[in-house]
Symmetry: C3
């Protein structure tokens, strides 16, 4: 099996494929190419709630001319009639489904699907493991700003431990020769993250002056039984606000994968900050997903 390529994490891409995806993203955003997936059957299977990623993948597929089917997990025979995952994937392939986009609360679930699927699986977020298209759009947003990420410093703030976005981005930053600095309390950013190109820091204010880009993360309350840090303490130590924005270089940008909780990881001054790039990230999400779909299905 597995004769076709999947995108489970950024490890699945060669370095030169990053450039290829970004080039196609630009082309799609300019409207230079389109409808390249006409008649290609795409199934979206979201086992977790999603606004951004679900809508973005749907629009990317439709814009490419694909035939799009949204399956509700609760109606799957896999969930209700004891069908194995392997047999579910064999079935989808047999009826001509070429792409399955999946989000699932369990780490590695998309990889299990890909094992049995004669088609392309795209990971739209699995547990705390990976979210490769989000990382790609974050990288694209930074590249748009800086041209190259070589030697740039990207500060990631907050609940790194539970963030599939952070985990994928760390891989991507390393590939593009950028430095990642992870900032947060030990319970959210264990020292064990340290490796070549990845530093762990505790003091946000001290680190902000060296940042080219800051990526804020949402506290994923749904993944905690007990919060390791109070809201008040989090806000005091890690919230990006007017005072801390003043510590940034003039050229620095601030990003967030969304959804963001105003008052916790950022305050409203961030939304008015000239370097706030949230809308650019969302915009590039569409183009990046078109590019990934196109690369996987049509090949190089």
């Amino acid at each position: 099996m597995r004769t076709r390529r999947s995108l489970l994490d950024l490890d699945d891409l060669a370095v030169e494929e990053f450039a290829e995806i970004f080039a196609r993203t630009t082309a799609f955003e300019r409207g230079e190419i389109e409808k390249r997936l006409q008649g290609v059957a795409c199934v979206n299977l979201f086992f977790e709630p999603s606004t951004r990623t679900f809508t973005s993948f749907n629009l990317a597929e439709l814009r490419l001319g694909a035939d799009v089917v949204n399956l509700s997990p609760r109606d799957l025979s896999y969930m209700t009639k004891g069908e194995s995952l392997e047999d579910t994937m064999v079935t989808l392939a047999a009826m001509g489904v070429t792409v399955v986009v999946v989000r699932h609360p369990e780490d590695g679930f998309p990889a299990k699907m890909a094992l049995h699927f004669d088609g392309h699986v795209i990971n739209a977020g699995d547990g705390t493991h990976a979210h490769p298209t989000q990382a790609l759009l974050d990288l694209y947003t930074m590249l748009e700003e800086f041209g190259s990420l070589r030697g740039r410093t990207v500060v990631v703030v907050g609940d790194v431990l539970h963030s599939r976005v952070a985990h994928s981005l760390i891989v991507g930053l390393h590939r593009l020769d950028a430095q990642a600095i992870l900032v947060g309390p030990e319970a959210l950013v264990p020292t064990s993250y340290e490796r070549d190109g990845v530093r762990v820091e505790r003091d946000l204010s001290a680190i902000l002056p060296s940042a080219d880009a800051v990526l804020l993360l949402r506290i994923q309350r749904e993944r905690f039984t007990q919060m390791p840090i109070s809201d008040d303490e989090y806000v005091a130590r890690y919230r990006l606000d007017a005072a801390r924005l003043g510590l940034l270089r003039e050229s620095a940008i601030v990003m967030h994968p969304g959804p963001y909780n105003r008052g916790i990881e950022l305050d409203e001054s961030v939304l008015r900050f000239p370097g706030w790039r949230y809308s650019r990230q969302v915009l590039h999400g569409l183009g990046v997903r078109m590019a990934v779909l196109d690369l996987l299905v049509t090949g190089t």
Copy 2:
């Protein structure tokens, strides 16, 4: 924000735009124009159950060639991860969504969305407030019958108080110089509705001979904790049945926004009445919605 036009209630339309929408409705129904929204991203967001309006908007969008995404409210980050409504709308706009069609139990919810959305919001029914596309299709159905509504008498029967359909229709009738007569018990049709062009009456049989058109309403049980009138009394005083149909002029028509409850606000003789226009209303719903989408997105 709000650089693009929304349709929240009929007040949002100039009088000459009614004529423009109706002209386009006719053109769409004749198949003279189509696929004018190719590549335009439409999101449908129904926080309340719907068969008619949901299907009608979906088909209108597809027929215009739009890219259509149906979001399930229960899967929205807005509902599950504490994202603000403003940030949800900013996100949808950023990913290139041009139209959001929304139904919501809360009065004014679509207006709150429009406040933050760089695109077009179409109100598909909000609480007891407004349902402008339903009113437009009702008006179109009457215009098809009478040519003009100037000086015509339209009798609206039943639970006006909870009817967004009635509230929008009253606005529309006034714009087109028709007379509205609202009929029902005080608890459902308070005297406070009276104004220029709007009369309140209690005796249905007495008023039917003067009607050009009758619009029956469903008792919206889901909006009552205790019913202010028993079914038996309602039937006795307000149900349209064979006897009361006999009081109508030969040219009069009867309408209902649906869904109707047989045996309560009408009996089966109404369904066989030559002036029963329910199916015409539903048919025109599709054309009117295509026309509204087209007018908002492509402009005049």
Copy 3:
């Protein structure tokens, strides 16, 4: 009403129409014809969970160029606001819906819909009654293998009593002059099934050497309050496994409508058996459904 044709069970098709559907299936699979339903509105209404059939109908409609709307039963006014089924169908027809594909737990529900619908109803499975498109794809899979079914012996194993698939297939086999042999315990395969062309047997091993094709069925646990046979006994007497596969002719094929439960009605040796045709069945499901949609909507 009922001026247009529905497919409620295989009885609705004349013998020569089987050949017509199969010819179109072949043409669709070869990509010789397509997009024949452009602008035709199809509504899918699945009151029971489904992966295979739901996805297959969706893709068939999209590939034919239809406008596709998936209605969630839980959001129907029929379910939430007391609208009658007749009025629901009148409404869908009025808004220009041409095809309704329906799955429902109640026997005869699609027939009730068709009674009031000025369009085509396609039964995607109703209770234990019928599942005509599944039977058509099973027949097509056998015809692909054998050219003709005249005089062929098809063994159906398991929970025939609750299987709408089996019930439709029995009709189809009779039409195409094949012999059906139903095998299982009395509680699942009552002797009352016996008629011209249909035999009931209890001993699977004894009957396998005479089979041209074997169709395995899933035990539909969701339709039992108490299981009439233990898993162990079922496995011992009716599971197809390596030993029983050895009793088959070399040319024999094995089919399953899916979803299958490994370890119960089959073991893994079946999945590696050269005559295992599950993936062919699923593949042909798409073509057969395109052919049925095409035949009903465009006529002969």
